[in-house]
């Protein structure tokens, strides 16, 4: 089977980690790494791995855009807006890992199939990828009136982009809790924990339901969803059994990373790259199927 060729824009932590995951994929091929700093470790690693590199950003790619059909954008919200503009009309699929959110939010286990044909999809936030599947699972049993998530990540895993604009995390996540999770009202809190050695990413989900909780059905839905996310994020797990108390459901998660480029405690970054990879693979499979049909 022919793999679909993909490119990664952005040679920072996320881009580099994503590249390493793509290199193991049976559906997509890491064809090009697009950066702006030839000295960056990401570009150097790509080159060492025999991946084509472009060091003058999106302009460089535009001159040889046949290199990739799917692009992962791991730059910044501002740069992403420009990239989408420049790539218009070239028929590329773009998976946005920045907070720009031009395209619809995608949570692979919840709504990926709805957006498989869309040109630009957005990966929400790390906290969103970790918690929205669970909120959606609970909401599929009973209406969630209010869902609140608390994401605690190791200080060392919060990059300068996150730090300079931490409101983007809380606002984007809250919105996606409502739009994708299905909660009537959403709220997100993020805490940076400087503890040494760094702690693994933790997510707490607190939901208030409209009615008394149907304990058994909710437990089952949560466990099912954890297993589904587990398929592509192996370090995603319940820290303890969910607590159900009348109308309130509390879920405690831990996300351990694979340790590809980033250390295992950075589950927040791992779940973003793993989820983006999953989206890229699904889009690629749809493209392969479509091609087969045309033939």
């Amino acid at each position: 089977m022919n793999k679909i060729k993909v490119g990664v824009i952005g040679s920072g932590n996320i881009g580099t980690d994503l590249m390493m995951k793509i290199q193991r994929s049976p559906y997509i091929e890491m064809a090009v790494m697009i950066g702006i700093d030839p000295e960056s470790e990401g570009l150097q690693r790509a080159e060492a791995a025999g991946v084509k590199t472009i060091t003058n950003g999106i302009e460089g790619f535009l001159q040889q855009h046949e290199l990739a059909d799917i692009l992962f954008d791991a730059t910044s919200a501002k740069a992403h807006v420009l990239h989408v503009e420049k790539l218009k009309g070239l028929g590329k699929k773009i998976i946005d890992l920045t907070p720009a959110a031009i395209g619809p939010f995608v949570i692979p286990t919840v709504n990926l199939q709805d957006h498989i044909e869309v040109d630009v999809v957005n990966m929400v936030t790390c906290g969103g990828q970790a918690t929205i599947p669970i909120i959606h699972a609970i909401n599929s049993v009973q209406q969630v009136e209010y869902a609140e998530i608390v994401a605690t990540i190791a200080s060392k895993s919060a990059g300068p982009g996150t730090r300079a604009n931490i409101d983007e995390f809380t606002e984007t996540t809250s919105l996606a809790i409502e739009k994708i999770g299905g909660a009537t009202k959403g709220k997100a809190i993020i805490l940076l924990n400087p503890a040494e050695p760094p702690l693994i990413m933790r997510d707490t989900i607190l939901c208030t339901l409209q009615e008394q909780a149907q304990e058994e059905a909710i437990m089952e839905a949560i466990h099912e969803m954890v297993a589904k996310v587990n398929e592509f994020v192996p370090g995603y797990r319940l820290k303890m059994e969910p607590l159900i108390d009348e109308k309130q459901v509390s879920v405690f998660l831990e996300v351990e990373g694979l340790g590809d480029y980033l250390p295992v405690y950075a589950g927040n970054l791992d779940i973003m790259t793993a989820a983006a990879l999953k989206v890229g693979e699904e889009i690629a499979q749809a493209m392969i199927a479509e091609e087969a049909q045309i033939r």
Partner: protein
């Protein structure tokens, strides 16, 4: 000597004590009395800052923006200030607080994470507000680290940086080292926020003032998380005796203290075993209530939970860890693990 500017925090830090149940009437009464007493700054916000009303930290009885509005109506010459912890509160919340009448904001981060405060400090300044940096859990980092982080806040435009002893764990020498280093190296004012868990709040505050701190937090009747803060009426009395100018009328503060004791305080703010252990263990003061609840739930001593939290360097905001740690200890106790 430079004048000392006191910020009354009973309606913010004290919000923890009343389970975030302040009423509009209480806020109006306290604010107007504080204003009459000449209090320069009055903080009104959920205990965990703007946006703090949550299942994680406790839901407010009244949305804090509404309380800010009430306070602003009767604040007179006093400035209403708010607390904002980036990651919990946002710029949107800050703008609403400003529209409601807040004139100043303290942007609070854990002592090692000052860089998340940049956008909020800059926005506050561009709105024309006074903006202060607030370095929480300052006992947990060495003085040089506190300085490095304070310099960041200064570079974002902060009008002052506070050394915040959130856990009430600092000894006078800890206060002296940190305030002195900041005073020597910052061009802006230095502030200090104490908790009374080791009965050192007033003493530590005096050390801070001695070392050049000019922005001081205090709470009437000690109304604040843990054993409370530096007791405002006591501090004013002491400053009067020392002939340090605070501009605050002692007798009016004493009258206010009587009102708060009668109408607001659910129980006297003494140094309970829990708060003492907190200062001793060096964990966040607002953990106390949660540790008590968790301890009761799983049948273990809240002190054991607090000491374990301290060992694990749990930081402010990680209230979700408390029940988990409690359950782990309980399991170990019966030998399941």
């Amino acid at each position: 000597m430079m004048p000392i500017y006191i910020t009354e925090v009973a309606m913010r830090d004290g919000s923890h004590v009343v389970g975030h149940q302040f009423t509009k009437e209480q806020v109006r009464n306290i604010t107007s009395q504080l204003s009459a007493a000449g209090m320069p700054y009055i903080e009104v916000t959920h205990g965990d800052g703007l946006g703090g009303s949550s299942l994680q930290y406790g839901l407010s009885k009244e949305y804090d923006i509404e309380l800010i509005k009430e306070a602003a109506l009767v604040a007179g010459n006093s400035k209403i200030t708010v607390l904002l912890i980036p990651g919990i509160g946002t710029i949107k919340d800050l703008k609403e607080a400003y529209a409601a009448g807040a004139k100043a904001v303290r942007v609070a981060t854990h002592v090692t994470e000052a860089d998340v405060s940049k956008q909020h400090i800059e926005m506050a300044k561009s709105l024309g507000m006074e903006a202060f940096g607030f370095l929480m859990m300052a006992h947990s980092a060495p003085p040089e680290k506190v300085l490095e982080q304070a310099l960041l806040m200064e570079s974002y435009g902060a009008d002052a940086v506070y050394v915040t002893d959130s856990a009430g764990a600092m000894l006078p020498s800890d206060v002296r080292n940190r305030i002195r280093l900041l005073r020597e190296n910052l061009n802006i004012e230095v502030g200090f926020h104490a908790h009374n868990n080791l009965s050192l709040a007033v003493a530590n505050t005096l050390v801070a003032i001695e070392e050049g701190a000019t922005r001081i937090d205090a709470s009437v009747c000690c109304l604040g998380a843990g054993a409370g803060n530096t007791q405002t009426e006591v501090l004013v009395a002491v400053l009067n005796r020392m002939e340090v100018e605070s501009g605050i009328d002692l007798y009016k503060m004493l009258d206010l203290a009587d009102y708060v004791r009668a109408e607001v305080l659910p129980h006297p703010q003494d140094i309970t075993t829990g708060s003492l252990v907190m200062g001793y263990a060096g964990v966040y003061s607002s953990f106390l209530r949660h540790a008590n609840i968790a301890g009761e739930k799983v049948g273990i001593d809240a002190r054991t939970i607090l000491v374990e939290l301290g060992k694990r360097h749990i930081v402010g905001g990680q209230e979700d860890m408390i029940i988990e740690v409690a359950q782990q200890i309980a399991k170990q106790k019966v030998g399941i693990v």
